[in-house]
Subunit: 463 residues, 2 copies
């Protein structure tokens, strides 16, 4: 076992020497590995050598390092999955126990610890009581926000169809914005809602790319007039493209008038709301029906781990439960316990609560806040560097630790030394710098900025 | 980091001293832990002590041990999640890299290794070329078979609605049997198909609890006559209740006549089909549209890890893809690579291929077959012990490593020394002994048998 641990430790010690972005060509790996599975066993040593030679060059080193002080991220593309030493250790623990906690009885600690960490984080976020177990709401850990959106959409859909009849299926309308995560569209497709009844309402730069409640009202109005049935709104706190904030409170007001289920997707930015100074970004959440954040995005937890809170667990459970004899047992029949298999899509489930419990305890609320603040502070620094150079434009307001700016993308990505990504917003091509890898320090941000400037200089001198 | 590893090693060294089944009462954990998250950090040592004191007593020790020769399973309930030393080590590796491989570019090695291990296992299973990449089919690793059923159902549904118009949604019929896994019913619910159009066709003991193709034909006929549209059939190789085998070939013949998508769920038993002597259980698979097995059930891999093969990946991709600007990149646009995010429900995905690659290499085909054979052999032994004791009845034919028998369940479960579970089949209450935990040896099976006999003796002497 030690050889494997040492291998990972070495990886992190050397991580700054790797190109952040993999430089391999499509199909490279097939040429390097056997065509068929080996008939006889191979040693771990041999396999680790192959990982070093063949796999590591094909990995984008977006990770955060398990040894603090060491290596890591010149990675600023997409939202970094913010692992941590603790997140990694606890993955070892939760894998080691290999718990399959589909119902309470299959491992009571898994279900009970999950209720506890969900309550802890709900409290840290100052969620209204209606979302917490003690207020008849409740929460569950799922894989990713994609899964959470699908499950809540199915719950909303079934609630509506039970009320108005299943023949309304074709009439149901789902609302998002042009900046909403693709998970919503995918959920609409999987849930069998009509893709032609999916509205991606246009946002504008003038509105900081957040949704205007009046635009929503107009669109919903038109749908109702056309005989359609408004069903579901996905509002976002911290959109993927620009970290825009949809105004939760005012949007919920509109939704209430039309009896629309409001799901708030704070997959990335939700974690920051445990800092009192950022909590206002989810003001109005009491008007929503469900709320989600990905702990693996910005909460020091390895992929995958998503918090979902709902006001009405029974709606979720009605859509997702099946009752099978082979899973019946005294504990469930007693109604004293809850079985999380009815709160999610799959039956088997991993012991994700263990990861969060360790992160919460080993950091403590105080240090979790400090961690999040330090990343936001670095993003501010990067933003200032950009604003002081007139060859660049900051394209959207920086709310958290993402800075969107304009210029020179391909040449920056191509270098492999720093990795940023691009997006289209409001018809313009912009660059995306997301600061969030656990080990990123100011010096990495400043180095990234230097690389960008060098490219700008080189390009300008060519012209 | 070492303290965590040592902790897990100790756990396995002591595992035989724990009651297999947790003895805690509902709500036990809430009384033991803080009501809110701690404000200041706590040490890993403190947390590990709490895990020992509070969590381990609430875990069902169904795991397989990472140190062979040590500890473990007197666990025969449900299908054991067959972790292994290698499966555990590789979880460390795949977590350590913390790869988020949603598209090729985000980590080329993740996508390419996945294609390779899917091809390797496809070959080991002697899947027809039409399911393999080289025959225009292909495969993907998902979380569990539940997810795979949902994704294939959505693909089948959309293919059908595109052909016949979306107004047929209410008419679509999905077929399973009373022994089909609840995942099918859940998928029907989530995919928005009418639950009244979900047929759980009755199987009978006389038919070894497998589906009779004639029964299927009759039911489908009646549906067509009633103006409904047959859509999807889920056939099972190794049902959860009794390990029954639905006859794939003949069922596919019926399905073909009605243009029904056939999904073969071999979640548990599929692994065994890498042994030539068990391959016949999936004969006829060439007539199916999709095929799945859970590597975490019986392939030495930790939860979660499910293989899904499809004959027509484009059907899957059409239902599950969304095209978003922020994930565009040269590699994808070149069409030289595939992006697995279009093959599954979520966007982010873990590096599951790494787990399988290590299992396949470090065991080799030879030892994987030996492992599976040894468990089947132990189940045979247990079956013989039962058949030689006239107080017990073996209720269904034993095909793999599950033995279903009748009598005395509650008192056996309650003892906590061995853990078996129960199910209802054909109106009768039966006991379920699934042999599959990686470290189970003959002596554990014989001990389980002694416990069962002692209980039988005790009960009979009371009367």
């Amino acid at each position: 076992m030690n050889i494997t641990i040492d291998f990972i430790v070495d990886y992190y010690q050397n991580i700054e020497s790797y190109k952040v972005l993999s430089q391999v060509e499509p199909g490279y790996l097939k040429k390097l590995l056997l065509e068929s599975a080996p008939y006889y066993p191979e040693s771990i040593e041999t396999i680790l050598q192959d990982i070093q030679k063949y796999i590591i060059p094909g990995i984008t080193h977006s990770v955060a390092a398990p040894r603090s002080g060491q290596g890591s991220p010149n990675y600023f593309a997409y939202f970094p999955s913010s692992g941590s030493t603790v997140g990694f250790l606890v993955e070892i623990l939760s894998t080691g126990f290999n718990v399959v906690g589909f119902n309470w009885m299959s491992s009571p600690a898994a279900t009970e610890l999950e209720c506890i960490v969900i309550y802890w984080l709900g409290e840290m976020l100052m969620l209204p009581k209606s979302f917490l177990f003690k207020g008849n709401g409740g929460g569950v850990l799922q894989g990713t926000a994609c899964e959470a959106i699908l499950c809540t959409l199915a719950a909303a859909r079934d609630q509506m169809l039970n009320r108005y009849g299943s023949e309304k299926m074709e009439k149901l309308v789902v609302y998002g914005f042009d900046q909403t995560h693709s998970a919503l569209q995918k959920a609409v497709q999987i849930a069998g809602c009509h893709t032609k009844n999916f509205r991606a309402i246009k946002t504008m730069k003038s509105n900081s790319f957040g949704l205007c409640p009046n635009s929503l009202r107009d669109v919903v109005h038109a749908d109702v007039k056309a005989g359609l049935v408004p069903l579901f709104l996905c509002a976002t706190v911290g959109t993927t493209s620009t970290n825009a904030i949809d105004p939760i409170g005012p949007l919920c007001e509109v939704a209430k008038d039309f009896n629309i289920w409001v799901h708030v997707d704070a997959a990335y930015a939700g974690s920051a709301c445990i800092c009192p100074e950022f909590r206002h970004f989810i003001d109005g959440i009491e008007g929503a029906n469900s709320f989600t954040l990905n702990a693996h995005k910005w909460f020091l937890t390895t992929l995958d781990c998503c918090y979902l809170w709902v006001k009405d667990p029974s709606a979720l459970i009605k859509s997702l439960s099946t009752n099978l004899e082979f899973l019946r047992n005294k504990a469930t029949d007693s109604k004293l316990v809850m079985d999380y298999k009815h709160w999610q899509k799959t039956l088997s489930r991993r012991f994700r609560a263990m990861k969060l419990w360790l992160v919460l305890r080993s950091y403590g609320v105080a240090n979790l806040r400090n961690f999040l603040r330090s990343l936001v502070k670095m993003a501010k620094l990067f933003e200032e560097l950009l604003r002081n150079d007139n060859r660049f434009e900051v394209v959207a307001p920086r709310n958290f630790a993402l800075v969107c700016f304009r210029k020179l993308l391909e040449s920056i990505i191509g270098s492999g030394n720093v990795y940023m990504s691009s997006t289209m917003v409001d018809g313009a091509y912009i660059i995306w710098c997301a600061i969030g890898a656990t080990l990123t320090e100011e010096r990495h941000v400043i180095r990234a900025w230097k690389v960008i400037q060098e490219h700008a200089n080189a390009l300008l001198s060519k012209n």
